[in-house]
Amino acid sequence: MAESTIYTIEQVKSRISEAFPTAVKFVNKEKPRRLFMTAEKGSLLELCKLLRDQLGFEHCSLVCGVDRIDRFQCVYHISSIANKIVAEIVVDLPKENPEIDSVTPLWEGANWHERETYDMFGFIFVGHPKLERILLPEDVTFFPMRKDFKVGGI
């Protein structure tokens, strides 16, 4: 199941930039075996499909939410076993209704990560099989990890 062709970072970068010239911008941080990029909300699912099917990124390491006071951010870390690269994709979400396409249909591993991000930040993942709270009890209304949530207060 590992891709027969091994891609280097430059090849991956070129494939992505030619497929998404405007949507995806690369952050120039030079680290071995790391790839940093920011993507628009709309093009995320296509980008992930391209990464998974053609470029051999089969393992979704992490889905993490960040509250930047004026906007939300959703950070995906997708790693490839064959190419030995970890790709970091940062997606900005509007503050009022943070909605984004779920990547669980592509990687089952992201299932619980997305549920936990919903549980902590309130991001709505469209297309997620069972978007429910995972760590907090069901009847909880607040989202604790947001910056406006006081520690120790409800």
Binding site: D67, I81, E108, G109, W112, L135, P144
Partner: protein, 361 residues
């Protein structure tokens, strides 16, 4: 017989730690299951946001009590990546050695846990007796037995004690003979094999897609180990190789962990040969971290542990996200449990090395 939901947990002898496994049972076989977690949720990631960088190290030890050094190590690597700090050479070697000793200690705790699950207390006491030796090693190294607070951002707390190499080599020689004893007790025991073989089959493709990592993934034949795939610290200079099995059942995962214990012994011996004898072991850490992000990624005894730090220029992290390997392996549990018997649940779940501390955070 009608479909019946059985609650195995939260206070159930089979669950190590507090979590609830709801199983839909048709007669004796399991048709569907759903792990319910969150009983041990302490709000770790929120708590971390009002503590300074050095103060988070003892907290990261307490993420998973079984392998506490690996967690503080991955946290320190993430913060060093954020601050762009360069760790002195000897500190890298000491960290790699403590990682491997912690991996052996963790695998011994797992081996001790599957004993009572399958009904035999002897293996529990043998494994815990050996684990005591490794806890004593850590006690001589940094003064504590389980939550070490030994890793620092930019190095380690103190150097190894004077006759450290002699103690470690003596322990490892003694431990090598003990692994053969475990194999006699478990591998050569037909009843243990009957309880372990052919259960919870997970094909390589599904395992990767489900995000399972670590010994459970290598048990299904996938050659993925962060130490070899994305070598951190000094793992590219150590002479070691990955242990995999391709049956993909509970016995394969057990075999991979036992082989990994042997491999860790070989790694520690290699490290002790190649470790520089003198040199600095610690770098003065700046008080405030620059604005930016940092990634720490390493091979935890349970799988790929990953920490993502966002710094905002103050001395407290803006956001610290933890990827716990068992959190994702547990999400793959329903896939493994489908179609097997209720009496198999302890051996299947026991083999995944349950640790709720890192799952619920």
């Amino acid at each position: 017989m009608t479909e019946m939901w059985i609650n195995m947990g939260p206070q159930h002898p089979m669950t190590h730690g507090l979590w609830n496994l709801r199983i839909k049972v048709d007669g004796e076989t399991i048709t569907d299951s759903e792990p319910v977690i969150g009983y041990l949720h302490r709000g770790w990631e929120k708590e971390v946001e009002n503590r300074t960088y050095p103060q988070i190290i003892p907290m990261s030890d307490r993420l998973c009590y079984g392998s506490s050094f690996t967690w503080s190590h991955v946290y320190c690597m993430a913060v060093e990546d954020l601050m762009g700090l360069e760790v002195p050479e000897k500190a890298k070697w000491i960290r790699a050695m403590s990682d491997e000793l912690q991996r052996i200690g963790n695998h011994l705790m797992w081996l001790a846990a599957i004993g009572p699950d399958l009904g035999n207390l002897t293996i529990f006491l043998y494994a815990i007796r050996e684990r005591e030796m490794f806890l004593d090693l850590f006690q001589a190294l940094c003064g504590a037995r389980m939550t070490y607070n030994y890793c620092r951002i930019g190095g380690v707390r103190n150097d190894a004690p004077p006759n450290w190499e002699r103690d470690v080599l003596r322990t490892l020689d003694y431990f090598e003979k003990r692994i053969n004893e475990y194999e006699d007790l478990v591998d050569r025991n037909a009843v243990f094999r009957m309880r372990m073989e052919g259960l919870a089959y997970l094909s390589g493709k599904d395992a990767v897609n489900l995000g399972v990592t670590g010994p459970s993934l290598r048990g299904s034949g996938v050659k993925f180990d962060v130490r070899e795939n994305d070598p951190y610290e000094v793992y590219d200079e150590i002479d070691w190789h990955m242990c995999t099995r391709d049956e993909g059942d509970v016995y394969a995962r057990y075999r991979v962990r036992i082989d990994e214990m042997r491999m860790s012994v070989q790694i520690v011996r290699d490290i002790l040969k190649k470790m520089p004898k003198s040199g600095p072991i610690r770098v003065k850490t700046p008080r405030n971290a620059p604005v930016g992000t940092g990634i720490g990624r390493m091979e935890d005894p349970r799988g790929e542990s990953f920490m993502y730090v966002i710094g905002d220029g103050s001395d407290k992290p803006y956001r610290l996200k933890v990827r716990s390997p068992f959190f994702v392996t547990l999400s793959a549990a329903p896939h493994m449990l489908k179609g097997y018997k209720v009496a198999d649940v302890p051996s299947i779940m026991g083999m995944l090395d349950v640790c709720m501390g890192e799952t619920d955070r």
